[in-house]
Structure formats: C-alpha cells, structure tokens
Symmetry: C2
Subunit: 445 residues, 2 copies
C-alpha cells in the first residue's frame, strides 16, 4: 500500500451554519513505505462508535478495531467479495464486550438485548436489515443472509423476498435459515456481562422515584447531562421537568458506546457497508434505530452511469438524528463531487448539524466513516501500466470522539486511532474530520 | 373551491427510459363553479392503494375514499391541524374491510395480521411510525401518538423519545399510552372477515405440494403470474423454479389491494402525510415494508428557506420497490421545481421505473399521491386582496389502477376516481399521471 499525501492540506472552512462553532481538520501525513505482503487487493475501514471513548479503555477499543480489520482482510485475501469481508469485520465488532452491538449491547427498559443491523452491497445495490432482534449472537449475519436470499429471486407464490425483518419474526427467519440461536447459557453469560448496565437501569428507576418525591417540595428538578457526550444538556421544558436526573456520573466511562460499522472495497472494486447497534441504553422495547434503516445506517453504491465513484458509508451516533437526515445516503450522494474531504465536511455541517430536520435539537450527535474508490493509472503517461484502485477514506464526527481502524490487503497490520474534538469544541455543534488516501496496486498473479 | 385549468395541457412526453413503453397523461378539466360552504380552508387527497381495482368493487373503493375525505374535512372545518386531519382520513381507510390496512389487512404466513403505518408533519418535520404491529385497530393512531410524544422533548434520563417502534414493543407502548387493544372478539371478527384470505394461504401451500410432485416428472414448472397486477411475470431462474404456481386466479378480484394513504394541507398552510398497510399477502412474520419507513411511505415538508413549496406525498405498491427508491422523499424533492406535473412524471420514469436500484426487476410497481401548496394572491395586481392558498394535487402509478378521492373544506362532497393505465400499457413499465389545481380562498371571519 502506498499512502499518498492526505486528501487536502490543512484547510479550515468558514462556518456555514450558525450552529457550527469550531471545525477541526486533521490531515494524515503521507507515507512512502511500500509493502507487498498480500496477493489480493482490498481495503477496510471500521469504527467502534461515535460517542465518548475514555482514555482508560482506549487500548480495548483500538484492539477490537484492529481485530475487525484483520478479519475482513483475511477474507479479502482469500478472494471473498466485499459483502463477506464487511460481515466478517462486523462479527468481530459485535463479539466484543466493549462495543454496543451484538451480545454486548445496551439493555432495553426490560433488561433485554434488542439489536439492529444492516448491510448493503454496492454491486447489486441490495440491502438486508434486522430490527429489534433478540436471541441471535450476530445480527449482521442475519442481515447478510437476508441480502443473499434477496438476490435469489422471488419466493413461492411470486412473493418478493423480505429485505427487512423485525422482532420475533426476524428471529424465526434466522433460525429457519440455519443461523443458530444463542446456545443455552449464552444469554446468562451476556446477562452477567451486562449486569452493571442493568444496575444502571434499576438505579435510574430508583432515582426517578426519589426525584418525584423531591419534586413535591421543589418544582425545579436537577440538571440533565447528555448520556452520549457527557456535557450538560439544555433543560427540558416544564412538561417533562420532573423526569430530569443526573446521568453523567452513571454513564461516564461506562463503555457503552454506540453503533459499530465497517466499509470495504474488494479486489474487483466492489464496495459494501454494514452497521450494527444495540441502540440507546434503556430504550423502549421495539425501538428501531438508524442501524436497521435503509439510507440511514449504511450505504454502498458501485460506480455507475451517474456515479463516477464507488462509495460506502457507515454511520454511528444518535439514531434519531441519523434517521431524520438519512445521513448515510446523503454522504454517498455528496461524495460524487471531486473533493471528497470538502464534500463530507459540508455534508456534516449543512445536512447534519445544520439540517432543518434537526432544527429543534440542542446538539446533533453522530459520526460517519466513508470510503470512495475509482480505478486509475498510477502514472497516466504510462499507458501500459495496469490500472490501480485509488481509495480515499475519511471519518468525521460531531461527538466527543470516534474510534476507527483501517487496513489494506497489502498491509501487515491495521492502524487504529481515536479521533477527538479539539479542546474547547462543543460536541453536537462542531465537526472533526480526518482521513487519508491509498493506492492499491494490482494483485500479483 | 375554484377548480382551475388542469396543471398542464395534454402533454405526452417522450420516454426517457427504455423501460417506459407508454405514458398516459390525463388532465382534469377546469371547473368554474365556486362553492363557499365551510368557514375553514384546507384540502385532502386520499388513496385506497395502487394495484388492481376490479370494476365489480369500484363502488366500494370509491365509497371508502369519499368517507375518508369527509372525515379529514370535518376535522379541518373544526380547526384541526393537518396531522389530525390526515389521521382521521387514515382511520376511516384502515377501518374498511376493502382495504389492505388496519384490521382488514392481508394475513401473514401464520394467518396473523401485522401492520405498518407512519405519519409525517410538515410543520415540525417530525415523524412517527410502527412496524409489524398486531392487536391494535388503527396503527396510524399509534404512529400519530409517537409523533406527538416526540414533540414533547426528552424522556427521563435524557433519552430521546422513539419515533419508530415495532412488534410487541409497539403494542405495549400503544396500550401504555391509552390506545386500546382490540376488544375481545374483535380478532375473531377480523379472522372471519379474512377467512377467504387464509384459505388463499392454505391453497398456496397445497398448490406448492402438488407442484413439487408435478415437478418430479416435469422439470418446467407452470407460469408465474404477478400477484399485484395480474400480468404474466418473467420466469424465475432454476434456483427457485420449483416454487412457481399460478396465482392469477386466486388473487384477481380478491379485493386485497395495497397500502392506503392521505395528504392534507390545513388552513394555516401546514402539510401532513400518512400511510398504512397490511403488507404483502403471505409475508414472512416480522416483515416491515415501506409504510413504516422514513422517506419511503410518506413525506411532508412545509415551505422553508430552501423549499419554496410545501409538499406532502404518500406512496403505495410493492413495498420493496418503494423502499429501494426512497420514493416519497424523492417525489417531495422533485416537486420543488416549477412544473409539478413534469417533475412527478420524470421522477416516476427516471427515479422509479428507471432506477438503478431496481435494474433487476422485471416490473416496478407503485403509485403516489402528491400535494404541493404555496400562498399567493388570486389576482396579483390587486394588492389589497387577501392571499390565497394555491394547491396542486396529482396522482401517478405504474400499477394497473389506483383509487383516489379528494375534497376541499369548501366543497360539499368528495370527488373519487379510479385511475387506470391505458389499454395496451404494461403495468410495471408505464406511468399514468393525473391531477388538478385548486385555489383555496381565505376563510370568512
């Protein structure tokens, strides 16, 4: 992999939205060292959530990202297509107890795990998704299987195969298609691992009762702290003031981050994207977030008649914010213009933080990883040269931090990074953006 | 209401997609009679599905559309906002045994009813949706309640209120919020009403068994007929050939049409849209279609900084086709250009039938109703004149037929119409489009 100069020189754009108070642009330094270890080309970029990553657990976050990259690259090196590689990365991310996905997910109000996941194939443009799914270790496997089954044509009686299943029906479909339910004892193990999260839920209930008692003698409740970024949140209006409790001390350093995801380009230039989430802690049972929703959680689209670039996007953060802005698809559309870095920054500023669909929100919390690729000649003047795959990769977030990892099939190991907003920047109102470019050479035959 | 000249003169556009073989453009004749019955202004357009409406049941389809319009107008005349009026129309449509929504819904593979519904408010841009919901008579009521609760601010512990709930969780939430579960015996009544549909399901199973036996002696299965439009479908490939059965005789004239919906503008110029569906007959339990999905089933957006027109859209047809094209939002975006008729036609041709996301489909089946409005003076030279509300309304479909009704608050009764593709046009490959314009005068004080 040859790391080229970063996507742009240091460039701080004027704020286009009154909500944007600071813009941090960090540009990767170019690398010149060339490695040629794998026989296949391909690239993966993963994230372990946009939210708040404590320094004390940074090692674990990076480690799971590294392993997820390696799993995807192993698949690519074995000749797998992008969808299989992205699924392999997601399974590794879901299996970590440090991520909010799979069996490490946040618990809902009933103390249960309900997961959302989806996958999109840039080649076929097919999509598979599950929502509010319980009892399956790797929700992304079910989403991928829905995608695969959808490509086989119509079902009996001319019925169109489903691309999105939820709840008990999704569980039954998975089991009917050979995806095993969690083995006996697995749920118990997960429960133990999540015990602290359950205790959190119980503490919230206790706090609520105490708060109601306090409220009888004092109309003003205590201050709300944002569960995602830890900063003080705007006080609610009187209609719900009685429900306000202090969550900062409970949530901070809890390790309960958000959605995980990955984007991949394979040796044929196909792109794929996937996303998986346990959703908000203490969510209402049956709540489905962006990770299951078309256009919101992930997007992948190979180059076509109207799309000069292949693009893949995966999102993380506050589900409702990502849904209302259909952010994954919005990013993909924007990336068809020449300057990927500028396009993504403007999208995060104008279509996310500045979105009229989130005008009433006091902070807009989310992050994206994006990848775009096109075939080109490394040295155009040499017409005999084999075309190479130019891959631009970026991550951007409005949350305090975002943990990412990336690797090409020609690399020895993955690189990982925890991206943070600069000191003084306000989460929900500022954008951090970083990324790089690599040129993947044709595989040795 | 003063009916003006239709949106355009008869105008047959050249096909822009190779899949489009015929375009029918029917233009409403202008009306000059002016009625002033109501004291409030407002307009509603409803549909009872894009699919196949038999002549023998035309009266019933039209009647339910008429009643739905009247319910919405009664609300508007009482001063209700667009969201309440559109909900009233949907409840009437859901309660009809002739529509595929609410308790008249298609049954899934287990003989159960599972409904999808959603609503969007153009003023707040808020959205509420339910998916795979059982046991509630009017799913749209739950979607509307989710929308209303979402506008009240954050829940306890700083949690963002859900906008999309599915399955058992959605049912519990509804009951917790005072929406009654179906009364005892109601399910039985619904079951009896749907008995013929269940028999259809059982016959399909029997046919499948017989077909497998026949297949053992003959590799070629019988021909697939499209369940939505009744026309012969492209033969499936060998991988699923054994599942092919003739459905035409079973589905034709079955009265099991698709999604219902409505779009409304109220006296303040706010728009709202809603949609409700029982989904595909014999769908897999847990399958969620476009009626629950943001951007796919409905869209409403008041005029704003970047949107000169207020727009509202509701879709119907093959859920997966409407999801992949995010058709409701696509139509809304297109309607911001000057010529609404042309914009909608091009969207149906290029972004639906010609969509790269449906390139592998042999027919693209769907329909939309759209409304757009803006404030203007009836006679601009008279600066003293009160501004009026100019409402353009259109329906367009690629299915055999679509049943619509429309009414203004100043009308005595609703108009209804079953729009059909012209003879010889192929469903799934051709577009029909019709509509009109009305100018709503300011209410008498």
């Amino acid at each position: 992999m040859t790391m080229e100069k970063g996507i742009s020189s240091v460039e701080v754009l004027p704020s286009k939205s009154s909500q944007v108070t600071a813009v941090k642009v960090v540009v990767k330094e170019p690398e010149t060292k060339q490695t040629q270890r794998g026989k296949r080309v391909g690239f993966v970029l993963v994230h372990a959530g946009a939210g708040y990553h404590s320094e004390s657990k940074a090692k674990e976050y990076k480690h799971v990202c590294k392993r997820a990259c390696q799993k995807a690259i192993e698949k690519l090196q074995a000749g797998a297509l992008a969808t299989d590689a992205v699924t392999a990365a997601l399974i590794e991310l879901e299996d970590s107890p440090f991520t909010n996905a799979g069996m490490g997910s946040n618990l809902n109000l009933l103390g249960e795990i309900e997961c959302d996941a989806s996958i999109m194939d840039g080649k076929s443009l097919n999509f598979g998704a599950v929502g509010a799914l319980s009892g399956i270790k790797n929700p992304v496997s079910v989403a991928n299987r829905l995608l695969c089954e959808g490509q086989k044509g119509k079902l009996s009686a001319g019925r169109i195969p489903p691309c999105f299943l939820v709840g008990e029906g999704a569980f039954r479909w998975a089991v009917d298609h050979g995806i095993p339910a969690c083995p006996p004892g697995f749920s118990l193990a997960a429960f133990k691992r999540n015990k602290r999260k359950l205790e959190l839920a119980e503490k919230v209930e206790t706090d609520l009762i105490q708060l109601k008692k306090r409220r009888q003698s004092n109309e003003k409740g205590s201050r709300v702290m944002c569960r995602t970024c830890g900063r003080p949140s705007r006080a609610n209006d009187g209609s719900r003031g009685g429900d306000q409790i202090e969550l900062y001390s409970l949530e901070n350093d809890s390790g309960t981050l958000d959605t995980v995801g990955a984007v991949v380009v394979d040796q044929e230039g196909n792109v794929a994207a996937a996303v998986s989430s346990g959703g908000l802690a203490l969510k209402h049972p049956g709540r489905v977030g962006q990770a299951a929703l078309y256009g919101c959680g992930c997007w992948a689209e190979n180059t076509g008649a109207h799309t000069p670039y292949s693009t893949a996007v995966s999102t993380s953060g506050c589900g409702e914010h990502l849904v209302r802005t259909i952010l994954a698809r919005e990013c993909s559309c924007a990336l068809q213009t020449e300057d990927a870095h500028q396009a993504l920054l403007e999208t995060m500023q104008n279509k996310f933080i500045g979105s009229p669909f989130l005008a009433n929100e006091d902070g807009v919390l989310g992050g994206v990883i994006v990848l775009r690729s096109c075939r080109c000649s490394a040295e155009p003047e040499l017409s005999q040269e084999k075309p190479t795959l130019l891959v631009e990769f970026l991550w951007s977030h409005t949350t305090e931090s975002m943990c990412v990892g990336y690797m090409s099939a020609q690399d020895g190991k993955a690189k990982t990074h925890i991206s943070r907003l600069p000191p003084g920047a306000v989460a929900g109102q500022s954008v951090a953006i970083e990324g790089g470019v690599c040129r993947l050479e044709s595989p040795e035959s």
